[in-house]
């Protein structure tokens, strides 16, 4: 098969549905990456640079009795050793988290999870820094840890956060959505109620590049330059100003190329602060790069929800209501990165894609002796958990009603004419054509044929499963009246400058970690202003050279910053129109835009190109009255609503009856993210998210023993899919533009990570139907599937 045929087979591209402007343009960032010339944090080498390493707690819960650093200080290559006590003197021992909690930069009183930061060493090279860690002697008074989330609120549970005034238990927060009484009433009269305990285990984004920073403090100017692996450089700069008390204009945060983020690089980690302190105390640039174990055991984990879900329906399959009670494990500090008013993220969209009469969710979040985090791993602020819950419940209902899972979903979808649709938990879905996407997926999969094949195989004793999932996401945080992080509104700035020769530079506040912003944002601007994308440079990742904004996570770049880019280009175009009217000596109303030029209406011979206009804007000639020279604009975009991408996923698995090994044979993903900017990049992101789904559903989990030792601290223990564990992805799409986004686009980066785990688990459970299994928890490793086949599917925690 030729590559062209191969591509056709997989893409299922509808060529009549044209994407935006330059479509499948190759990426502008790739020429440097394929030459090995990307510049990642660890590639930054500054003159005189020192290396920092962090000493971490070997135990989950202990009081620090004493720390002896003398031997480490005596090491000939060591320049500084810093403990929590030293930081406390500077007022830097604790820092605020993104959830209005505090987190220790270096432990002063107690350690609260294995891997917590206790001290750091700055030395001449990375090996010496690690050697010196061995020379620090810490005496711990070990305390009983809280590891089992279900026991965190027991009366005799040790109190983890005794640093908080008056804290006498491990309660973190309560949260609720929907109408409890109305939901109870609907459940009361429903024909069928299905209840299931569903766990979404703790997982980790584990980007291939770990977290790190290079801090360079200029003592004379009082200026800090920080290279760091940050998905949100502007938000980080403001937080450093608040934490360290440095004036904000003296801080420059540079996010160079980032080797994957997936939410792992949203929080501020103690290591970044240590690097800054290290540079201040040594008066030298200081590099800190964590190793893989440090990344897995101490930085932002994801999920860790223990959910009881219930779904109520009529006998013929009309879903009436859903409700859930969630126990959320937030680890030792509430480090969740979510809008302040949304401590449970956007879990409220757990009503899914269905038209319901009532819904209610209740959550209790607790502290445990585990690493902090919670919102990460492409979860779109907890929508992974919400979609997994509802899509598992719908399948459980289908099981009990003995109904086809597709038929059940089709019967309950929110219908196109119901949009904008307000859910029972208060979310306003902007647009959707759910049945169309589902039909498309069925067609691509050959659903009926698959069911026939399944029946035949079952008759032969083979275990083939077909899993279906449908998701709606809420992405693009967010309207500033509702959404802020530590008081910073979630709007994004964008600046566009057209140079005299008609080349342009667009400056963004969001930060690519592989999403290809240098390409897609050039395409957005090109489409609006008619300058070819090759002539538009995209600048990001440097707070000194970009406007303020909250960064890239939660699939927000296209919904928020993409809108800003389109609007700033329109603003420039409006000015260009006025200048053109002067050049052509006609009124503005007599001009029409011909993608790249203004033309006098009805007179194609009289027109000026955007490049000519740019030269005039900067030239010596007269400009229309009241028009300043130059051709540039800046805006700050405040979205009026989130965007609601959706998708229909179908997964085919084979389970080996002898070994219980699950093989994902096919995966068909139909996504609708509204207007498509670069389909090649969209498909790439979908492929990546589907692979995450295979990881979470079948392989990945951060687990602990009863003493709180993390058992998943390396890539030997925390298994991530390789090329052998995933199939060749089959993708399709529909296009339902967002009505409120300037170009109709919706976010897509996390769609597949959200939608694929339920499709895969539904497929495995479907394969196990002959064993009478209605639910089994992730990760569906051979041993866990084997247990399910023996009749005891155990929760993973």
């Amino acid at each position: 098969m030729t590559i062209a045929e191969e591509r056709k087979k997989v893409d299922h591209v509808d060529n009549d549905q044209k994407p935006l402007g330059h479509g499948r343009m190759l990426r502008k960032e790739d020429p440097r990456f394929v030459r090995g010339l990307g510049r990642y944090c660890d590639d930054v080498q500054l003159t005189g640079m020192l290396h920092l390493a962090i000493l971490r707690s070997p135990v989950a819960h202990a009081r620090i009795v004493s720390i002896d650093t003398s031997a480490a200080e005596a090491h000939p290559k060591v320049k500084a050793v810093v403990t929590g006590a030293a930081l406390a003197e500077l007022g830097l021992a604790w820092m605020p988290t993104l959830s209005n909690d505090v987190q220790a930069v270096l432990a002063t009183d107690k350690v609260r999870f294995q891997g917590q930061e206790v001290a750091f060493v700055v030395a001449e090279d990375r090996y010496a820094a690690r050697d010196a860690l061995e020379l620090i002697d810490v005496e711990y008074d070990v305390l009983p840890p809280v590891i089992d989330v279900r026991k965190a609120l027991a009366a005799d549970a040790p109190v983890i956060r005794d640093d908080l005034e008056g804290k006498i238990d491990n309660h973190c927060f309560d949260w609720e959505a929907g109408d409890e009484a109305a939901t109870a009433a609907v459940f009361e009269r429903a024909d069928v109620v299905v209840t299931e305990d569903i766990v979404y285990p703790r997982v980790h984004p584990a980007p291939m590049e770990t977290c790190g920073a290079v801090a360079d403090f200029d003592r004379v100017e009082g200026r800090l330059t920080l290279y760091s692996t940050s998905q949100a450089p502007h938000a980080h700069r403001t937080l450093y100003a608040i934490v360290a008390g440095l004036p904000e204009h003296k801080i420059r945060v540079i996010s160079p190329d980032i080797g994957g983020g997936f939410g792992n690089k949203v929080p501020i980690y103690p290591g970044y602060v240590c690097a800054i302190v290290g540079s201040i105390v040594t008066n030298k640039p200081v590099k800190w790069m964590e190793d893989r174990t440090e990344n897995l055991i101490s930085t932002g984990f994801a999920r860790d929800y223990v959910m009881r879900g219930e779904i109520a329906a009529t006998r013929d399959g009309k879903i009436l209501a859903v409700r859930t009670n969630v126990l959320a494990d937030h680890g030792a500090f509430n480090g969740t990165a979510a809008p302040v008013k949304y401590p449970a993220g956007f879990f409220g969209v757990f009503t899914g894609s269905y038209d319901l009469e009532a819904a209610h969710a209740k959550m209790t979040a607790v502290y445990t002796n585990k690493a902090p985090g919670g919102v990460a791993y492409a979860c779109s602020f907890r929508i992974t958990e919400a979609v997994y819950l509802v899509e598992r419940l719908v399948d459980c209902l289908a099981y009990d009603l003995d109904m086809d899972p597709v038929e059940l979903r089709m019967k309950n979808f929110i219908r196109p004419e119901q949009f904008p649709y307000t859910t029972k938990t208060g979310w306003v879905y902007d647009s959707g054509e759910y049945a169309t996407a589902m039909n498309k997926a069925l067609e691509l999969a050959g659903y009926e044929e698959l069911r026939r094949e399944q029946a035949e195989r079952r008759a032969r004793g083979e275990l083939m499963g077909i899993g279906v999932a449908f998701f709606t996401e809420a992405v693009g945080a967010g309207p500033r009246k509702d959404m802020d992080i530590l008081g910073l509104g979630m709007a994004d700035g964008c600046e566009l400058r057209v140079h005299p020769t008609g080349k342009a530079v667009v400056r963004l506040s969001v930060q690519s970690q592989g999403q290809g912003h240098e390409t897609t944002f050039a395409q957005i601007v090109a489409e609006e202003i008619g300058i070819p994308p090759e002539d538009i440079d995209v600048v990001h990742g440097d707070t000194d050279n970009t406007p303020f904004g909250l960064g890239t996570y939660g699939s927000r770049s296209t919904p928020v910053s993409g809108a800003a880019a389109a609007l700033v280009a329109r603003k420039v175009r409006d000015k260009a129109r006025i200048i053109a009217s002067g050049m052509l000596e006609v009124s503005v109303a007599d001009l029409e835009w011909q993608k790249g030029a203004f033309q006098v209406k009805g007179d194609p011979g009289r027109s000026v190109t955007i490049q000519q206009i740019a030269m005039r804007a900067h030239g010596a000639g007269d400009l229309p009255d009241g028009i300043e020279g130059g051709l540039e604009a800046q805006i700050c975009y405040n979205p009026s609503n989130l965007t609601y991408p959706f998708g229909a996923y179908i997964c085919v698995v084979d389970v080996d009856p002898g070994t219980a090994q699950v093989k994902v044979r096919r995966f068909i993903a139909v996504d609708d993210c509204g207007t498509r900017i670069n389909p090649m990049i969209i498909e790439g992101q979908i492929h990546g998210g589907l692979t995450d789904g295979v990881g979470m559903a079948l392989m990945e989990m951060i687990s602990f023993d009863e003493d709180g030792n993390c058992l998943s601290g390396s890539l030997m223990d925390y298994l991530i899919p390789t090329a052998l564990e995933v199939p060749d992805w089959e993708t399709g799409f529909t296009v339902t533009p967002s009505p409120h986004h300037p170009i109709g686009a919706k976010g897509v980066g996390e769609s597949a990570t959200v939608g694929s785990p339920p499709a895969i688990v539904n497929a495995v459970v479907d394969a196990l139907k002959p064993f009478g299994i209605r639910h089994a928890d992730m990760p569906l490793t051979p041993s866990r599937v084997w247990d399910a086949m023996q009749g005891h599917p155990l929760p993973p925690i």
């Binding site: 030729t2 990456f33 090279d125 990375r126 530079v505 290809g516 090759e534 600048v539 692979t691 390789t722």
Partner: protein, 169 residues
Amino acid sequence: MQVSMTVNGEPVTRDIEARMLLVHFLRDELGLTGTHWGCDTSNCGTCVAWLDNEPVKTCTVLAAMAGGHEVRTVEGLEQDGRLDPVQEGFMQCHGLQCGFCTPGMMMTARALLDRDPDPSEETIREALSGQICRCTGYSNIVRSVQWAAAHGTTAEPEEPTIEPAGSAS
């Protein structure tokens, strides 16, 4: 100790600690930062480069062990200003996103194609299975290698599709 080797055709000599890993030697001593580091356990493959024409995980080789041998890194793929078809294939088929795994993937792919100019999809997946990509989901990496296979083992002067993004003005 003193160690000498050939890296991308150039002889190099450095004084190093005996325990220095080849990955750190390439990155910190030679400034060849295209070879990455991503794990402590030899699982990720972001560090893959060639030792005497064999792809190795350079985090698992001491620099001293490479003494007297030939090392080729991602920086050595481009020859006389011409990209290797593997590099071109990764650009054409969107075989990379963040680019962190990419040098290692390309070095393994090049070695595979030198042995087997027309590998099956299964063979390609097998060859890359000691390496992890967290972004692409592998389908496009497989296609990139197939593209390179279809476009010959020696670099043809492909029209550069897109110029590198220049610096901001």
